[in-house]
């Protein structure tokens, strides 16, 4: 389908956490492909393993208690899980950058933002301080912060949440990465600020051509941003298709249920109840047998309670993990 070069190819990734209360299979067999310059959305609720997948890609899983116990993560054709820590450090922040939900805790409060962005630059590029400052100011301008020279010497607390997220983006993009991972980067922001940041990310993606992995729980955000969407549930990808396909003809009952259950901003008020998904996400210590969605699924059968479905390509480019996919 996609004839662009494959940038990231995650195969059967399994990341478990070994806690005092038992083993948490946070990521349990996730497959995901990201092409060069592609914007991919990874969507799911809390505990579905979306953030752990991201941290696994950049190998920042806290160990202990976490451990990547299986699978492969190919980046430019090389398996990141086979790299030593030194090589990883070169890739991280240079070829792959990540931005997080809470920009205040990701920025160091006692250094100016200029210092922090130029640190990211000098760490990966052999340039002198004057050159680094020049590049930093360029980056600050690129992410749409007014008066970059003045902002250079300001501290994070002097900036608003939206501005801080712009600083994080400037830092992440300073090394011209091939992949930007955005983990709920706009979740904590107000809608008008979120619109600014999404607009900025879209513009920068077009300009710089990097691939973006957008991790979020917000279906509307990926609808606006992503070309391809993967839906995660309880540590597995349950559906993976183009954004159009996901929203037009969802095949997995979980995806279908989620799309049905969100109130539609463009529809008039009714007094009808929303078609909610019953029950709740399973406890990671007691994953249900068979398909992990079966206790909440209106179409579950005996087979779903016993056997675990494989993810299958039902139509070209549309992968679904379900014994009884919804007719398209």
């Amino acid at each position: 389908m996609d004839n662009r070069e494959v940038l990231v190819d995650i195969k059967n990734l399994r990341t478990f956490f070994y806690t005092e209360d038992g083993v948490v299979p946070a990521v349990d067999g996730i497959d995901l492909t990201i092409h060069r310059g592609e914007v991919v959305g990874l969507v799911g609720e809390s505990g579905c393993g979306k953030s752990v997948t991201a941290l696994s890609i950049i190998r920042l899983i806290p160990n202990p208690p976490g451990k990547i116990i299986g699978g492969e993560i190919f980046f430019h054709g090389e398996d990141l899980l086979k790299k030593n820590e030194e090589d990883m450090r070169v890739i991280r922040g240079d070829k792959i950058s990540m931005i997080f939900q809470e920009p205040m805790t990701s920025l160091n409060p006692v250094y100016t933002i200029g210092d922090q962005i130029s640190e990211a630059i000098t760490l990966h590029q052999k340039i002198d301080a004057a050159e680094a400052k020049k590049r930093t100011i360029e980056m600050i301008r690129l992410v749409g912060i007014p008066e970059p020279e003045r902002r250079f010497s300001q501290y994070p607390h002097e900036m608003s949440g939206g501005m801080r997220q712009r600083v994080m983006i400037a830092m992440a993009l300073s090394s011209n990465p091939d992949l930007l991972i955005s983990d709920e980067a706009t979740t904590a922001l107000d809608v008008t600020i979120q619109a600014q940041i999404l607009d900025l990310m879209r513009g920068l993606q077009k300009k710089l051509g990097m691939a973006i992995l957008i991790i979020t729980h917000n279906l509307a955000v990926v609808a606006e941003m992503a070309e391809t969407i993967a839906i995660a549930y309880a540590g597995k990808i349950v559906e993976n298709a183009s954004a159009k396909e996901i929203f037009k003809s969802p095949r997995h009952p979980y995806t279908y249920g989620l799309l049905q259950s969100i109130p539609k901003f463009t529809e008039k008020k009714t007094n009808e109840p929303l078609p909610a998904i019953e029950g709740m996400v399973p406890s990671p210590y007691h994953m249900p047998k068979g398909c992990r969605f079966n206790p909440r699924c209106p179409f579950a059968t005996e087979k779903c309670r016993e056997e675990e479905p494989e993810i299958l390509e039902l139509t070209p480019g549309h992968l679904v993990r379900c014994f009884h996919p919804i007719e398209s």
């Binding site: 619109a195 109130p263 909610a276």
Partner: protein, 324 residues
């Protein structure tokens, strides 16, 4: 004809900022600045706005959990602004609040049965046996099994905790319930469950809601009327469909256009506002929105726009509508 349950007139809540050697008031945070609105019996009024717009403060001041700086609060025709906490107590039975954070708003050391029962104890309602019975009934009403009354909050998920919050608020049969971001901390698949519960209870118990939220899709689904706040002021109020279909204030228009829509094939015209919401300590002169408004005119700097009624029930505070 709808009856007015509660009304606020020119409600103001300023928080002093103390400073200097003698701890004098050096400035004020103008969280709510001369806000007027009303809620009819049995309806849902939503108060929407971004962080720092004053919507939560407005909700709390309405309940007199915060003493207003000036202005009037009229509950069922009676001015309650000046009532002392003791005089307020019998009225508190009629007005309750439910909070955003299902983790921070429940006492972790109390079994949930006791948490739900506490308002009955405070107001001295019923005998011990009747209270126990009421708790069991209320738990079933909000979709919790009554056997769970001995369990502690940490044994429940976020969605279940919000059900506990609803049960605690409703146990004394209030008329007015202030819902302060009741679903924003919940997962998507759980949000719809709580929305459905709140709507079902409203119809069944004839409740009046003040719904404070920033998620506009939920607001559209829940509300009868909507008031939009910006920096301590209400800029526009209208009936649900009227507001969403014909927004007139430039801020409302920008806010609505900024909402992402879960449909990749819908391409919307987007108004991207520049800059951030200014500080409520030192809001811009004239119209508070003028620093980010794409249509700002000289008059916006000098005069504060007054709210005018452009259609029945639709009021807007903007100079664009008066300078024609």
């Amino acid at each position: 004809m709808a009856t007015r349950l509660v009304e606020v007139q020119k409600l103001k809540k300023w928080f002093p900022i103390k400073g200097g050697v003698f701890s004098t008031t050096v400035a004020s945070v103008k969280a709510v600045d001369e806000v007027s609105f009303f809620i009819n019996q049995g309806e849902t009024l939503s108060l929407v706005g971004e962080s720092g717009s004053g919507k939560t403060t407005a909700g709390r001041t309405l309940l007199k959990l915060l003493q207003p700086t000036s202005g009037k609060i009229i509950y069922k025709g009676k001015d309650i602004t000046k009532l002392t906490p003791n005089q307020m107590r019998p009225l508190r039975r009629n007005m309750q609040i439910m909070f955003q954070d299902p983790y921070g708003s429940l006492n972790p050391r109390m079994p949930v049965g006791d948490i739900i029962q506490e308002p009955l104890d405070v107001h001295g309602i019923g005998t011990r046996k009747e209270r126990k019975q009421a708790v069991a009934t209320m738990m079933e009403t909000v979709g919790l099994r009554s056997e769970y009354e001995k369990r502690y909050p940490h044994e429940f998920s976020g969605g279940q905790r919000q059900r506990i919050g609803v049960a605690r608020a409703l146990i004394i049969n209030p008329e007015l319930l202030v819902l302060d971001e009741p679903i924003s901390a919940l997962d998507v698949s759980i949000q719809s469950q709580i929305i459905n519960l709140l709507q079902e209870l409203q119809q069944r118990l004839n409740l009046t809601y003040l719904f404070i939220a920033h998620d506009l899709a939920v607001v559209r689904h829940m509300s009868d009327r909507v008031a939009v706040m910006y920096l301590g002021k209400i800029v526009e109020t209208a009936e649900n469909d009227e507001l969403f279909d014909h927004p007139l204030h430039p801020y409302t228009q920008a806010l609505l256009s900024a909402v992402p829509v879960p449909d990749p094939e819908v391409k919307r015209e987007r108004i991207i506002l520049q800059g951030d919401i200014p500080s409520p300590v030192n809001p811009p002169s004239g119209c508070h929105f003028r620093t980010r408004c794409p249509y700002a005119m000289p008059v916006c700097k000098e005069q504060e726009p007054l709210a005018i009624e452009v259609a029945p029930g639709h009021t807007v505070a903007c100079h664009l509508l008066t300078k024609k």
